[in-house]
Every structure is written in C-alpha cells, then in structure tokens.
C-alpha cells in the first residue's frame, strides 16, 4: 500500500536532517565502492589467469614421441620411437577405466584448392573420439565416424574458417575439395573455442590418411582425456603410470625425458587451480571484510540515529503515533538512504573500474568488472544489515514510555 503521507514524512525527515542522512549514506556508498573496486580488481586478476589457460581441454593428456636420449637394455641412444595403431589399442585396453576419450592423430600440411582458390592448411587424420577430446562443435554435416575409419572413405571435416576462406559464402557440405592433388568430399563443418588456428584445420579419417600418405599404421600423437571424476592427484598418478608403461613397452630408460613425452593437463590445472582458489579465498576475504565493515558502520549509524530521535519519538507517541508507525518511519528512511547510497557506490565503483581498466591492463588485470548481481546482493546485504541494525533500536524506541523519551534532553 502506498501511503503518500508516510513518504512525505520520510522525505521531510531526510531533507531536514541532511548531515545525518549524508553521513549514513556515505558509509554505505563507501562500503559498496570499496567492495566493487576490490572485487573488480580481484576478478580482473582472475580473468587474466583464465584467459591465459582457457584453450585446451582441461582433462587432456597428450602423448608424443621423439628419439631416446639414453642407452637402455643394450639399445643405443638416439633411437627413434614411433607410435603405431597397436600402441593406441594398448592404451585403450590397459587404461580402460582411466580414460574417457582417446584419439590418435597423424599430422600433414597440405595445400587445399577449390575452384580458383588455394590455401595452406594443416590436415589432421583422426578417429571419431577426437571430436570430444578437442571439444569441437559440428555446425553442419557430421564428424569423422567409425564407418569412415573402416571403409577408409575420402571425406574431410573442415573448420569454420576453412569454409569461409575456400567456399566464400556457399555451404561447403557435399562439395569436393582438392588436398594436394587428391579430391575429398566435405561432410562436415566444425567450430572450436580454441581460436582461429583451431578453425583452420581439416580433419580426415585416420585410416584414410595412413593408407594414402604412407601406407603404414604410424601415429604422430595420441590424445586422450582422463576420467573426469579423477581429482588432480589421481589424474597426475594416471599420467605417470601411462608414461611408465609406455617407456617399458618401448624399452626406454625410466629417466629418459625425450623418447616419450606425456603432457598431462592435470599438472598445469593443479597449479592454476591452486592459484585461482587462493585468489578466490582472497576475493572472499576482501568481499566479506568490506561488507562487514559496511555492516558495522551502518549498524552504528542506525543506533546513533535512533538515539538521536528518541525525543522526537516520544513527542510523536504522545501525539498518538502507534509503535508500528514509529518503526516504519525509521526503517523506511534508513532503507531508502541505504539503497540510494548503495546505488551511488555501485555507479562510482563501476565508473572507476571502467576508467582505470586500460591502465590496469599493464598490471595483469584484465576487464576488472564485477557482476551486477554480486554488487546488488552486496547492497541487499547492507540494506538487510541496516534494517536489522535499525529495527532493533527502532523497536526498542517504539516501546519506550513516551514520558521517558520526552525527558531525554
């Protein structure tokens, strides 16, 4: 119910007691301002981190090979280690529960041509699981499937940018594209969050590439994702175990760093995760700290305001004010001031962050913003605290015998 007289009373009270109103408003504005700025800075730091490590699949493990650097079991150093299909099967079988998706890859660089257009792209031959390892999104058509692998079909799945560059504005689906002299049918177009380079890739079935480009069963790389239910330590153990078993399989010295390289995202993630969780705790402490300071400030002011208005309350009661009207006039006034002041704090904080954003970029703080909902909930917390802090003394004041209040000079 809108009671215009009540609001008139409140606005008069705010207007005629400017110092008091400004004082309590300033506390809230300042608390929200600090909250916004500190939270924004911490968020900016967080953004810098996640921007740096966003690309790859978070639970990926990548197996690459090189030459041995140490002689072992009578074998010379400098021996080239080559992954083959059977190694893929070995990992698939031996680490069945530990792996989620597993993809083998062969890399080639080719020149693609369609009609009069020509361009260089990297060609990667894969099996169907690769879609999930890379987290590629098929926009149209389909990905490489098991039938392609079995029949060694001459099909390709091209990145969004390949389609744009080679096919202009026409859909590439069903068209034949020439890759270094051999014609392939485009069966799908995909997009990837990893950036432009990831969308300039052409995928084809692994078996097709193995037959056409070498007639062997060689693999350049095996990518897999570990069981997503693993925690960091389990995932790291799995990576170490995989490396050990592969070294054993290829007769590589256990301390040979070059022959088999198992790159485990879990290691990197653990570091990032620790960093971000420390940052998270920091943010939380900062946020809570400023909020608590704000709450204490507004509580003090509310108690002071009620104390200051005791006599007025007594007069109003003697003139027939009900306890309810006393409480509502005090509370609505404080809520109004807190809300307005909180909004100013939000505006000011957001403004300062926006203004300082380009300068802060130099200090590894990217896009230092705070979500509106967070600041609004912070403001609501302050309003709630102010209400609670005001309610108790207001209620007490409303119960004071008018005669006691009137004597209060």
């Amino acid at each position: 119910m809108f009671d215009i007289d009540l609001w008139r009373e409140i606005f008069q009270s705010i207007n005629k007691n400017r110092t008091r109103s400004l004082l309590s408003g300033f506390t809230v504005t300042f608390a929200i301002l600090l909250f916004t700025i500190l939270f924004g800075l911490a968020n900016g730091l967080n953004n810098t981190f996640s921007e740096a490590f966003v690309d790859e699949v978070s639970n990926g493990v990548f197996v690459r090979t090189g030459r041995t650097s140490k002689a072992y079991k009578g074998l010379q150093a400098g021996r080239r280690i080559q992954l083959k299909n059977q190694d893929f099967s070995f990992i698939e079988k031996d680490f069945d529960t530990e792996t989620e998706y597993i993809a083998s890859k062969v890399f080639k660089n080719i020149t693609a041509s369609y009609k009069n257009k020509k361009n260089n792209y990297s060609l990667i031959a894969v099996n169907p699981d690769n879609q999930y390892v890379e987290k590629s999104k098929v926009n149209s058509g389909r990905y490489v499937n098991q039938l392609d692998i079995e029949n060694k079909t001459k099909v390709v799945v091209i990145g969004k940018l390949v389609e744009q560059e080679m096919f202009s504005r026409v859909s590439a689906l069903g068209k034949n594209i020439n890759l270094s002299g051999i014609s392939y049918k485009v069966v799908g177009v995909f997009s990837d969050n990893g950036g432009d380079d990831e969308e300039r890739i052409i995928y084809m079935p692994l078996s097709t590439a193995q037959q056409i480009y070498g007639n062997n069963d060689y693999l350049d790389q095996i990518d897999l994702t570990y069981n997503p239910n693993f925690d960091f330590n389990q995932a790291i153990d799995f990576g170490l175990d995989l490396e050990k078993k592969l070294k054993n399989r290829f007769n590589i010295a256990p301390n040979d760093q070059r022959a088999i390289r198992v790159f485990n995202m879990a290691l990197q993630n653990k570091g990032i995760n620790q960093m971000t969780s420390v940052l998270g705790i920091l943010i939380l402490v900062i946020g809570m700290g400023t909020l608590i300071a704000g709450v204490v400030g507004i509580s003090n002011i509310m108690i002071f305001i009620v104390k200051e208005r005791t006599k007025e309350i007594g007069i109003r009661k003697a003139l027939g004010a009900s306890p309810k009207s006393i409480i509502s006039i005090i509370l609505i006034e404080s809520i109004l001031i807190t809300t307005l002041a909180g909004y100013f704090g939000l505006l000011a904080g957001g403004g300062i962050l926006e203004w300082a954003s380009p300068i802060l970029k130099t200090y590894f703080i990217t896009d230092p913003s705070v979500s509106k909902s967070l600041v609004i909930s912070a403001t609501l917390t302050l309003i709630g605290a102010g209400t609670l802090a005001g309610y108790l003394p207001a209620q007490k004041a409303s119960k004071i015998k008018p005669i006691v209040a009137l004597r209060d000079d």
Binding site: R8, E9, I315, R316, L319, S322, P323, I403, L406, D409
Partner: protein, 247 residues
C-alpha cells in the same frame, strides 16, 4: 471509595475518575512509592491545578492521566472508558483521540515548521493532507500565529512556541487538555498570556488539568488539588483569578 452511580437524566458524567491509584518507581534495589492511593474525580469543563513541591508525585499523576505512564494499581476511567492494560497501539489511539498535551519544554519537532507541528496529531488521526492543513491553520489562527505558520520552532519566541504547542494540543479536538508546567519556561508577561488563553479555552468548555508549583498560576484555575508525598492533602474550589492578556 467513591461510588459512581450511572444516572442518565441529570447527572453529569465525570470526565475523569480515579480510584486508589498507586505508583512506585524502582530506584536501584529499593523502590520509591510515588503515588499512594489517589482518588480524584474531575467533571467536564473544570480547570484544575495540581500543585505540590517537587517529588510530591504531581507530574507522575499527570503522566498516568496522560497515558504516558502506567499505574501499578488502581482504577482510571476517562470519559466512561476504563484505561487498563492498554496495548501500545490502543494507548496511542486514546492519546490521540482523548488527550492534548502541553509541556514545559514545548516539545515541538525542531525540523517541522509551526503548521506541520500543529498538523502532526491530525496525521496520526489519518486525516487527508488538505484537511490537516486547513484544521491546523484554523488552530494556529486561534492562538494568533497564522502569520508564523512557515517558521521553524527555532525562529519562534518561548511564548510563541508554547502557543504553537497549545494549537497542536487542540488540533485533534481532545476531551482533556493536560499541561505540565506550561509556564515554567516563560517570563511573567508571557505566562499571563498563556494562562489567559487557557482560561479562554476553558470558558469555551475544555476540561483542563494543569500541573504547576506556582501559586499565582494555580489561582487562575477553578480548583486546586495539593499533593504531598503521594497523597492528596487538599482539594478545594477557588474563585478564579482572571489572567491579564497582553496580546
């Protein structure tokens, strides 16, 4: 104990009826017995002075009558309504409807101008803004301060403040006017003005209770009740001395 007979024909119902009123205040561990059984009946249209030295309980009595304070025991009937075990809300309604207060220290709200102060009890009566201001202006005119309606209390003299307070007390058209040392903070001339005005109100039929310790103020009433140590020592009707108005 006073026997109260309801006789609708000729008998004028008392405005105020008090029987065996007791009140104690706790002071530390001991308690101070301030009112020790007060019996009092005030008829409509009376102008009563309650006198006594400080500590005699006169202000306490007025506060209980004004529902600003509660009695420990005893009966209090105001205009046929028994005032007992009042909730805060009920007390607020009764204060607003039945009573008008005039205080020694005026008790005007300092950030409201004269008109707004007078209109405040009407706000608590739930009147519309227009109506409130109209009534408030009427009462301000009655106390001769219509020209001062937009002035804040800090811009008024003591006498003017008290007249604003009287206008405020009259605004809700109460059955009973309660004045606690209304001239206590005023000089003799101004005191005389205020008393003249109260007498005029009484002439118009208002029932007025004045707490005072000044004999000459009491003499301007029609009845004087003297309190000492919490009991009524003397209750006499006097010939009213008319106050000289200087306005």
């Amino acid at each position: 104990m006073t026997v109260y007979i309801t006789d609708t024909s000729n008998y004028q119902k008392p405005m105020l009826e008090i029987n065996q009123l007791h009140k104690s205040y706790a002071i530390g561990d001991s308690s101070l017995h301030v009112l020790k059984g007060i019996d009092l009946s005030v008829a409509k249209g009376e102008m009563v002075a309650i006198m006594g030295s400080s500590g005699s309980g006169k202000s306490t009595l007025l506060n209980i009558i004004g529902m600003l304070d509660e009695a420990d025991s005893g009966e209090y009937v105001l205009d046929s309504v028994t005032i007992k075990n009042l909730t805060e809300k009920k007390a607020a309604i009764y204060r607003n409807k039945f009573l008008g207060f005039i205080f020694q220290s005026f008790n005007l709200i300092n950030y409201k101008n004269a008109l707004e102060n007078v209109a405040l009890p009407l706000y608590y009566q739930g009147l519309k803004r227009k109506e409130r201001q109209e009534k408030a202006r009427f009462h301000l005119q009655k106390v001769g301060l219509l020209d001062w309606q937009t002035h804040l209390p800090s811009e008024l003299s003591g006498g003017q403040k008290q007249r604003v307070a009287i206008a405020r007390a009259l605004a809700s058209n109460p059955k009973l006017l309660l004045a606690d040392e209304p001239t206590g903070a005023l000089d003799t001339t101004t005191s005389s003005d205020i008393m003249a005005f109260l007498q005029q109100l009484n002439d118009e039929g208002k029932t007025i209770l004045i707490v005072t310790h000044e004999e000459d103020i009491a003499a301007m009433c029609k009845r004087i009740i003297r309190l000492r140590d919490g009991i009524i020592m003397e209750d006499k009707t006097v010939t009213q001395v008319r106050a000289e108005s200087h306005v």
